[in-house]
Symmetry: C2
Subunit: 160 residues, 2 copies
Amino acid sequence: MRMGRGVEWAVHALLTMTWLGDDEPVPTAQLAANYELPPAYLNKQLQALVRAGLLVSVPGARGGFRMARPAQEITLMDVVAAIEGPDDAFQCTEIRRRGMGENLPAGTFRAPCAVSAGMQRAELAWRRSLAAQTIADVRAEADARAPGVAPMVRRTYGRD
Amino acid sequence: MRMGRGVEWAVHALLTMTWLGDDEPVPTAQLAANYELPPAYLNKQLQALVRAGLLVSVPGARGGFRMARPAQEITLMDVVAAIEGPDDAFQCTEIRRRGMGENLPAGTFRAPCAVSAGMQRAELAWRRSLAAQTIADVRAEADARAPGVAPMVRRTYGRD
DNA sequence: GCCCGGTTACTCGGATATATAGTGTCCGAGTCCGATGGG
DNA sequence: CCCATCGGACTCGGACACTATATATCCGAGTAACCGGGC
């Protein structure tokens, strides 16, 4: 039950774009260099964000990635779903109906498995919490905790 | 972000023990046969439950596994933690402080990373939901959805 | 000075290897049950 | 008939392969910027 690192990278990439403020595209190479990450692999993760409609890719020289919509309209749930895929973590294989033969009347297991239901309730709580937090919220919290990052980022990326 | 199947197997195994009612140990082979699961691998998962203190193993002939405490004192959180381990799904690698040099004043990143905080909030909601559901709850829900399973299980396991 | 075409360098994008964790299997150590022989 | 002893079979337990996923890399296609020449 370990989440891929791509999620962390993706959120930080989105945060950086928010700090930059403008709509000029950011190349993967620059993000990877500043965060000390493997460039090609980071590129792969950002491609996933493009497929999910969170980023727009700009090809050619001075190209890169740009946010597809404002930060307050992108939730952590969107990012996780884009990177990790839409499947639930817990997957019910209906093992409950195996083994005990045909002795129970037909339709006994029509209702969903109680185990699966319990797990899905927990995952729903997780998803709700993720969906309630936007990138803008995360940025606000980060700014409150570590002030003065935004101008530094703009300088690091040569925007001023 | 896929959860191992061992969790599903473990919960169903605990459910079966609850249905059996008595404290006689259940051998892995019987559980595996009835659920059509690989016996040795199921045994491995049950061993994890023993290490976590949820089950007690009884060696020797007529041995097997027995619940270490009543079903209402075992939560889904306990089972997940026993199988999947105690680590958080999202692991912060503190990539925020890399790359932007030593230009920021020391102590800027003393507070925890905002990205990590957001993810942890979501995971906490997940854990709370899992901890709020006991095996007894799951059994009650399963009984309500598919009545008449308990006696059938007792018969299948030769307890009557 | 302005416009146009060719060249160049830079970017994304997907196909291809490697590392790691999950899945599955095997064999040995220990324990209890039952049969067996004696009292 | 009752009890001690021996043998056997069954169980868990951890060490050993195999497979799927995540991680990392490489190279090609495409595009925009830049430079040079012509008008």
